[in-house]
């Protein structure tokens, strides 16, 4: 870990702090690293600054202080449009629920990143987007054509999360960020989903930043980090501020 520098880490945050204008900081992290290919479980109950951290990693928020490097690129040095492009090229997101665009089909949802990022489209072997989309869906347990023709709104939540995972993985982005992707799933589906997701991340060599409050899943990861431990803004005081 000690040889890690911002240049060769997947995610490198140093002295990272963020505050909404005129408010006390919600995030103040001295150092947070994710290695390339590493799978990190980030435990973060609600109110711990989790959304803010993900916004900073995703480049939709800019830190008030400090720097955040992704894959050796200093996000704070990029323009807003540059950060959008970087996110499209190198990051895959899976959210808690409602991950899919309701008016697009299953495959169209999976192929969405290739619409916005030519880099990701180019990384698809042979350039056959549809084949790669089907391969990912199959790898995540949604094989067979009968899923493809169904409106996404008719899929079960578990199936929707798999489609979302396939979309996040399309075009081999180096970093996958999953924000409570299993919290809407039942216990068995949760394990299955996680196994498939991790297997595919391994195949693609992607780093995985998995945020959840469900500590029972932590054992499957390379490392477990508690946001409350690294965020110097005390959890208690945030709660107090929220309740006030």
């Amino acid at each position: 870990m000690s040889d890690l520098s911002p240049e060769n880490a997947a995610i490198a945050a140093e002295n990272l702090s963020f505050a909404w204008p005129g408010k006390p900081p919600v995030i103040d992290i001295e150092r947070f690293y994710v290695e390339r290919g590493e799978r990190v479980f980030l435990r973060g109950p609600s109110g711990s600054g989790k959304s803010t951290l993900l916004g900073l990693v995703g480049g939709v928020l800019t830190p008030s202080r400090g720097r955040i490097h992704l894959l050796g690129t200093d996000l704070t040095a990029l323009s807003a449009a540059g950060r959008d492009r970087f996110r499209g090229d190198h990051l895959g997101f899976i959210f808690q629920m409602f991950n899919l665009i309701p008016y697009l089909g299953v495959l169209e949802n999976v192929l969405l990143p290739a619409q916005f990022s030519s880099a990701r489209a180019l990384r698809i072997p042979g350039g056959d987007l549809a084949a790669e989309g089907c391969r990912l869906l199959a790898a995540l347990g949604l094989g067979g054509d009968d899923y493809l023709s169904r409106p996404v709104t008719e899929l079960s939540i578990g199936q929707q999360q798999r489609v979302a995972a396939a979309r996040a993985l399309l075009g081999r982005p180096e970093i996958i960020v999953a924000d409570e992707p299993t919290s809407a799933l039942d216990h068995d589906a949760r394990g299955d989903f996680l196994q498939l997701l991790m297997a595919e991340c391994r195949t693609q060599g992607a780093s995985l930043l998995f945020v959840s409050h469900d500590t029972s899943l932590g054992a499957m990861f390379d490392r477990v980090v508690s946001l409350a431990d690294i965020n110097r803004v005390a959890l208690g005081s945030t709660r107090a501020a929220v309740n006030a």
Binding site: V60, F98, I101, Y103, L112
Partner: protein, 420 residues
């Protein structure tokens, strides 16, 4: 391209709202286009009433008055033109031809016009169209009449029908020239001009039927002149109502106009039909400008409906925007997406509006032509129409910037947070 596709799919997903919005725009566009078509049809019909005539000459009154009674058969002449003055001008070397007009009688509400066969030869309407006979031929005998298409259609006349001319212009007349009946010898093709509502007879016929009349009354039975006796008399009129002039060379028109207006023997007025028509249209045209303004406001209402529909959809689409952002879309993409949506809705509305307008024109055309004599030429979309339609789409896109701006702001504040 991808934005267009996304916008299209998104609209398809909300097709009920989208279709209603498109319908509202379509109806308003059809109205606007229809009003514009009617307007140009009316204007064309108006300026098409007379052409090929260089000057219209009557007793000195107003320009519009002369135009109204000589061309549109509306209103009355205040005075006549003496036969001598007419002859003097008609024989002028610069004058190619003249058409004398004698008005004042009617037949069952249609005006009777005394003229010469030159009328059928020289009079033009709608650019360079000449009068054509649907059946029969010009009048030759003293008691022959040629009727317009409306007269034939409404009164059920054909070649060979006998008609009696009434004295004066009333729809119901108590004084009739029943002793000198006329025979229809010709029916003109429809022209879409006042010709359709006119009964044409020879200039001498007008003199003949009035030969035994004095101060609006027929002479007592003993002093009457029969139809056959009248043939033997000199039927050269003392005066005519007005006449039309065709010049040998158009260049001489203004000189001749000035000469006639300064004619010392008799107070005369010469007008150039095109100039007078334009002046009159400026008067009549106010009404349809008002109609056009109303139609424009209806379009505005349609576009505001679109704005409402898009604004209402924004909140429920915040998660859609967050998903798009997570795969690399910037706030600018979101802005473009919504503006594209507005553009698509307006374009679809305009296209449907064009279809609706033409559908209505084709459906209504026979009725309009039969009942009102308005020929609504569906025609193509002229550059003016296209400019209007383009403006509507442009306005929609500009209005779409409002919801797009709201979505842009939402996107910035929501980031990757999915709000439900």
């Amino acid at each position: 391209m991808k934005t267009l596709q996304l916008a299209w799919r998104s609209l398809r997903n909300r097709r009920t709202t989208a279709l209603l919005t498109i319908s509202a725009i379509a109806v308003s566009v059809a109205l606007l286009l229809g009003v514009e078509k009617m307007r140009s049809a009316a204007r064309e019909g108006f300026s098409n009433t007379v052409s090929g005539v260089d000057l219209i000459v009557g007793a000195r009154s107003g320009q519009l008055n002369l135009l109204l009674y000589a061309v549109f058969r509306v209103g009355d002449a205040t005075a006549n033109v003496s036969w001598e003055s007419y002859q003097k001008i008609a024989r002028h070397p610069d004058v190619s031809w003249t058409i004398p007009i004698s008005l004042g009688d009617s037949h069952r509400g249609f005006r009777v016009m005394g003229t010469t066969p030159d009328y059928f030869r020289h009079y033009r309407f709608a650019g360079d169209r000449e009068m054509r006979f649907a059946s029969g031929k010009p009048f030759a005998d003293l008691y022959d009449a040629v009727i317009g298409a409306d007269v034939a259609a409404q009164l059920g006349y054909q070649v060979g029908s006998a008609i009696v001319i009434a004295h004066g212009l009333g729809n119901v007349s108590f004084a009739e020239h029943e002793d000198k009946p006329f025979t229809v010898v010709g029916v003109l093709e429809r022209t879409g001009t006042p010709i359709d509502r006119t009964v044409h007879v020879g200039l001498q016929a007008i003199t003949a039927i009035h030969i035994d009349w004095q101060s609006g009354m027929q002479a007592l039975p003993g002093a009457r002149v029969s139809a056959e006796q009248a043939r033997a008399l000199d039927l050269t009129p003392q005066s005519i109502t007005a006449f039309m002039v065709g010049m040998e060379s158009k260049v001489m028109t203004f000189t001749m106009q000035r000469a006639i207006n300064e004619y010392r023997q008799e107070p005369l007025l010469a007008i150039i039909p095109g100039v007078a028509l334009t002046q009159m249209w400026n008067l009549v045209g106010i009404a349809d400008t008002a109609l056009m303004i109303v139609a424009a406001f209806v379009v505005l209402a349609g576009l505001l409906g679109m704005l409402t529909a898009i604004l209402t959809s924004l909140n429920e689409r915040r998660r859609e925007m967050a998903i798009l952002r997570s795969v690399g879309a910037g706030p600018r993409h979101v802005f473009t997406l919504l503006v594209t949506e507005a553009g698509l809705l307006a374009s679809a509305g305009v296209a449907a509006g064009i279809a609706l307008c033409y559908g209505l024109i084709f459906a209504a055309q026979p009725v309009l032509e039969r009942r009102f004599g308005i020929f609504l030429d569906p025609g193509g979309l002229r550059s003016y129409d296209l400019a209007i339609l383009g403006t509507i789409i442009l306005a929609a896109i500009l209005m779409g910037a409002l919801p797009a701006w709201r979505a842009y702001r939402n996107t910035l504040s929501d980031g990757l947070t999915i709000r439900v």
